[in-house]
């Protein structure tokens, strides 16, 4: 009893304008979480570098700027911070430009995958019954195949190229978003407010789009952030396996990693820099996503 009274008092207080909406509440907890801040800084750096690469980079990314031979590849120096790569291009510049490619691949494949997944999930969650069964069996089938393996298959089928990589990663993410949204919507369908809206005659479409959907999106936001991390890693993985663009001038981290294999003994640092770049970008989105999950989860609310 005392607990519910306390809640009533609290609710009354915030009603007077001091408190805030659900989003503001989550924002407050996010700001206090050091993990969230670390993630946000990494993500911010990554996005900033990606956007500003042409201005930040000291050299052109696709032209040789120094002399190299297969046996002597200059390491880091004052002029070339990360050294030169096997074709004499500035490694630091290529890492900066690589952020841009990673971001584009990550965001495009996320948007494609999320759109497809949400449409399927919405279909299953809104209609239920046979539609739900058909959609979900399809999703189960796709999920039975390991993600990266499936992406390799799709990318190989579409032929190499950046579009193929993006579509492959998107396809892998479709069932994940579909199942997530569908599960959320089914849970919301049983809720009292849906019954209450039904009881005043609100139409089905409006209940689904206006009531159930907005309540089901929180985990989708979290999943989206986490998916950016896996998309960046998957894109690097596909490029490493030679399934990315054939154009060697495109500074893509996974491809850079693959191209330096031959020089691992003479210039090991060339593998370290793109590797670290991939790790930090993925880490940033993962930390941010996980702390978002915590901030938005009502179980952690205080």
């Amino acid at each position: 009893m005392s607990l519910s009274q306390a809640e009533v008092v609290l609710a009354g207080d915030s009603g007077d304008g001091a408190g805030g909406s659900l989003g503001r509440d989550a924002w407050r907890r996010l700001r206090r979480n050091p993990v969230a801040i670390a993630g946000a800084i990494l993500v911010f750096l990554f996005v900033a570098v990606a956007l500003l690469a042409p201005w930040l980079a000291p050299f052109p990314p696709d032209k040789p700027v120094g002399q190299v031979t297969p046996t002597s590849i200059p390491g880091p120096s004052a002029e070339h911070w990360f050294g030169l790569d096997d074709l004499g291009r500035d490694e630091f510049t290529r890492i900066l430009w690589g952020a841009r490619w990673s971001l584009v691949i990550g965001v495009v494949s996320l948007l494609l995958g999320m759109t497809g997944g949400l449409l399927l999930g919405l279909l299953a969650g809104a209609f239920g019954g046979v539609v739900d069964t058909v959609v979900m069996r399809f999703v189960d089938m796709v999920l039975a195949i390991p993600g990266l393996l499936f992406a390799i298959g799709v990318a190989a089928m579409l032929g190499s190229g950046l579009e193929a990589v993006m579509i492959a990663i998107a396809v892998v993410n479709v069932p994940i978003f579909a199942r997530l949204l569908r599960g959320q919507m089914l849970a919301q369908r049983q809720s009292d407010y849906v019954l209450a809206a039904t009881s005043v005659g609100v139409r089905r479409r409006r209940i689904v789009l206006g009531h159930i959907l907005p309540n089901s999106l929180t985990p989708v936001i979290v999943q989206g952030t986490l998916t950016l991390a896996t998309a960046i890693v998957d894109a690097a993985g596909l490029a490493f396996l030679g399934l990315s663009s054939n154009d060697p001038s495109i500074p893509e981290w996974g491809r850079m990693l693959a191209d330096t294999q031959r020089y691992l003994s003479s210039a090991p640092l060339l593998a370290v820099f793109p590797g670290l770049a991939i790790i930090f970008a993925a880490l940033g989105f993962t930390l941010l996503g996980e702390s978002l999950r915590e901030a938005l989860d009502p179980k952690y609310r205080r």
């Binding site: 009533v8 408190g19 009292d192 009881s199 005043v200 609100v202 409006r206 309540n215």
Partner: protein, 326 residues
């Protein structure tokens, strides 16, 4: 002329691999405009299921509804779904027990109140907002224009229930069902909400079905009271009769288990023995028999029928009627 006439309503929940559950078993009652009818009983006696059946809100799969529910002469059980949706909210509405969960947490109050007006009266969103503010003011919410912009968690429990009542009343329905509208609220707010409902019935002639387990609420509100046990009505009387001379042992037990100011202070409350789980199926006798003080041999042999006129009851060995002076 009654507005709502429920006859021999039965609701059976069927689930594969399990025995059918007969939650409501031949319930009949009627409500006239301006009248307040109470459905009273313990948890699980079928009162909420009855209200959901009347509103047509029971899931279609796995639920068998039989009998007749006539609203203003229209049979609801055979009415097409879209006609029923139009009726809901416009001509009949329901207020649920828990105002905490009956409002959508991510949708502002204003949207939730106005969507009824937009749906049934075809108002533009601007007109609907003005109307909604007026509705909130009518149910006693101060500063309604601001409240419309707020989210449910910014309102107290009593305010939320008022907002829900406002949404239910938006189109001046002729029938309002209140399913334990005050259970989740504390006592002072309870009284305010009940006063609000009472005023509404008096002002607009709305027929009110009040579903509750709280005899105090019944005493203050209802014209006629139906006491339910295990899916059937066991006693039906005017409020006055019921409180002055309860005749079914279950009703008497309910009354004896509530503290009263007009009894000596030292007197002990008498709980009803056992729990609703100690119930006999009606097919084998009286469902209340295992818990009944007035049990006779006959009770375990056959189910009693509902008999009697204005004060009817379902019992083989009822408590003697007291002379009721009005």
């Amino acid at each position: 002329m009654s507005l709502l006439k429920v006859e021999e309503l039965s609701v059976v929940f069927r689930q594969r691999g399990r025995e059918d559950v007969r939650a409501v078993d031949g319930v009949s009652f009627s409500v006239a405009p301006g009248e307040t009818v109470g459905l009273v009983g313990e948890s699980g006696c079928g009162k909420s299921v009855t209200s959901l059946a009347v509103m047509g809100l029971l899931p279609r799969r796995g639920v068998l509804v039989e009998g007749s529910i006539a609203f203003d002469g229209t049979e609801l059980l055979t009415l097409p779904a879209d006609k029923l949706r139009t009726l809901r909210g416009r001509d009949m509405a329901i207020v649920f027990q828990d105002p905490m969960s009956s409002l959508n947490p991510v949708v502002p109050i204003g949207v939730q109140v106005t969507e009824v007006l937009v749906r049934h009266r075809g108002l533009s969103s601007g007109e609907a907002r003005a109307e909604a503010a007026e509705l909130l003011r009518r149910v006693g919410i101060p500063d309604p224009a601001r409240r419309l912009r707020e989210y449910p968690h910014q309102l107290s429990g009593g305010m939320r229930q008022r907002a829900l009542i406002a949404a239910a009343l938006a189109c001046s329905p002729r029938l309002l069902i209140a399913d334990e509208p005050t259970t989740a609220l504390d006592v002072t707010i309870q009284a305010q909400i009940l006063e609000l409902l009472k005023g509404l019935v008096a002002d607009t002639g709305t027929a009110l079905v009040l579903i509750t387990h709280d005899l105090g609420v019944v005493a203050g509100m209802c014209d006629t009271v139906h006491v339910m046990y295990s899916g059937r009505i066991v006693e039906r009387a005017s409020r006055h009769e019921l409180f002055a001379s309860p005749r079914h042992p279950y009703t008497a037990g309910l009354l004896a288990s509530v503290p009263r100011l007009d009894r000596p202070r030292g007197e002990r409350l008498e709980p009803i023995q056992g729990s609703p789980r100690d119930t006999l199926p009606w097919s084998r006798g009286c469902a209340f028999a295992p818990r009944c003080r007035n049990r006779v041999d006959e009770c375990a042999r056959a189910a009693p029928e509902l008999h009697g006129g204005s004060h009817s009851l379902r019992c083989f060995n009822p408590i003697e009627a007291k002379a009721v002076n009005r």
